[in-house]
């Protein structure tokens, strides 16, 4: 079931005008910012389907930029997100695409600063609910409804077990887990949805394990 909570239906509290094109867009931007872990200084935002056709009218553009500035769906500053972006020195570019995607409301955000670059693909599935479907080229499913951690690691045996036991020691229950890789023996990604909050300390413990490249937490 994609919609788990009654507040997915009666909610979110948000700045209008569209739950999928404004609130959902803000959430996709915010997840990107969350995963990047800091304020990006530039972003290239590719829009597909209905997003590409109607983004100006729905405020999808200001909402995504607002999300990249870490604003929630009900943050009044969404309306002036372009000015706010200029004041923190973030540049952005919107590219409407004509390519057909599986979901009508799809956004690909490539973002970064002087040191790092990252890309995500998010879809807005209705009522403000979003799913993250790709991270740095890795396909994934993440509802955004649960706390989750993303672990980039080398595709070696024992890696998954070491992360799982680290969580088990802290009595953190895994609700859903997915592992994907681009090719055998190369870079891989673990997506772990958890029932409890994962502390910074635990994240650091996981990051220190052998063959782990990067650990990121996504709050509920």
């Amino acid at each position: 079931m994609k919609f788990k909570s009654v507040f997915d239906i009666i909610g979110p509290v948000m700045i209008g005008p569209s739950s999928s094109h404004t609130a959902g867009a803000a959430r996709i931007g915010r997840i990107a910012r969350d995963l990047f872990g800091k304020q990006p200084t530039w972003a290239r935002i590719h829009l597909y389907g209905s997003f590409a056709e109607t983004y100006k009218g729905h405020g999808t553009d200001v909402a995504i930029v607002g999300g990249l500035l870490d604003y929630d769906t009900d943050d009044e500053r969404i309306k002036t997100a372009f000015e706010e972006a200029a004041s923190v020195g973030m540049t952005y570019e919107f590219i409407p695409e004509s390519a057909h995607t599986e979901h009508p409301n799809t956004a690909r955000i490539v973002l970064g600063d002087d040191h790092q670059e990252m890309s995500i693909v998010g879809i807005s599935i209705g009522g403000g609910k979003v799913e993250l479907v790709e991270l740095n080229g890795f396909p994934l499913r993440l509802s955004g409804g649960h706390a989750a951690i993303l672990v980039v690691h080398d595709d070696r045996s024992g890696c998954i077990a070491s992360v799982a036991s680290c969580l088990a020691e802290q009595q953190i229950n895994i609700g859903h887990m997915e592992v994907s890789r681009k090719e055998k023996g190369n870079m891989a990604l673990m997506v772990i949805e958890v029932d409890q909050t994962v502390s910074q300390e635990v994240l650091e413990q996981i990051a220190a394990l052998p063959n782990i490249t990067q650990v990121t937490r996504i709050a509920e």
Partner: protein
């Protein structure tokens, strides 16, 4: 995932067997799924109710969207009602004006609570803040109204769609109107089965409704579709309370809506390429708002 209901049939049966209201089943399921206390859940819904209340108040004072396409109609309807000569009745028009008020605030980028979406955010609060003058509910019953709406919306969202881009306006205002009809029915003392009938009767009359926003803005025809969604909900609730039933079971109506949405052309699913968006005036307004070539307008 363990849930207490996956479709309307299970929802109604559980409410009947356990002799509970639909809102109560929804609250229990929320507690089960999110592992939160009843108090926390009620509090969050109370906050959403307050946001809805404030949006209605703001809209009734009069707002205008940046594009200038919408705003001020809620005030017109309220002023008309004061003359006391309404044809369709004060309660119905009150609901209509409050649904319009909410969506005018939404179009003006104000704060609203999506129910189930922003484009359809007017129907549930619009009807609620009208029927309370007749039914005199407690604050808790008003919160329950939102849980009953949520229970039906939950079924639609998981078994069909609440997205205009995926299923057309029938998935948004259609769902919202059905949700409101079920909640009105419960608040008025109807049985869980009657709630289900009210939902089915409403959605049946919203089937096929396309999503064709002019200039891609959630304004024309969205605001007025919320008005009619509210009217539809109230009439369907009265019919269900009178004992009228739907020949097609509620879950099958939801399934029909889903399939209609899947076969609906993309031009009519929130792409601003067909329907009212593609009329000469629709195109003219689009060009006027966003610039570009103004094509001939017949007027």
């Amino acid at each position: 995932m363990d849930v207490l209901f996956r479709n309307v049939r299970e929802l109604v049966e559980r409410a009947k067997t356990e002799n509970k209201l639909i809102s109560e089943i929804m609250i229990e399921q929320e507690m089960l799924i999110t592992d939160r206390s009843r108090e926390e859940i009620m509090k969050q819904m109370d906050r959403n109710l307050t946001v809805m209340e404030e949006a209605v108040e703001k809209g009734l004072k009069g707002v205008r969207s940046t594009s200038g396409l919408t705003g001020g109609d809620a005030v017109l309807i309220q002023n008309y009602m004061k003359k006391g000569n309404t044809l369709s009745g004060e309660l119905l028009l009150d609901a209509v004006s409050k649904a319009v008020a909410t969506n005018e605030v939404n179009a003006a980028m104000g704060t609203i609570c999506a129910t189930p979406t922003a484009g359809s955010a007017g129907v549930v609060p619009g009807t609620l803040f009208a029927v309370i003058h007749k039914l005199n509910p407690t604050r808790e019953q008003m919160i329950n109204y939102l849980f009953t709406s949520g229970a039906f919306g939950f079924v639609v969202a998981n078994n069909a769609s609440i997205s205009g881009a995926a299923g057309g306006c029938q998935a948004e205002v259609g769902s919202a109107a059905g949700m409101a009809a079920a909640a009105i029915t419960e608040m008025a003392g109807g049985t869980p089965q009657q709630c289900s009938e009210a939902f089915a009767i409403t959605l049946k009359n919203m089937l096929g409704l396309v999503c064709d926003p002019v200039a891609g803005l959630v304004e024309v025809p969205c605001v007025k579709r919320n008005a009619m969604g509210a009217a539809n909900a109230l009439v369907a609730a009265d019919m269900a309370l009178a004992g009228v039933t739907s020949r097609i079971p509620c879950d099958e109506v939801i399934d029909a809506m889903y399939k209609i949405g899947q076969t609906m052309p993309t031009a009519l699913k929130e792409t601003a390429q067909g329907g009212l968006a593609a009329t000469p005036t629709g195109r003219w307004l689009e060009a006027k708002i966003f610039g570009g070539a103004v094509v001939g307008r017949e007027q």
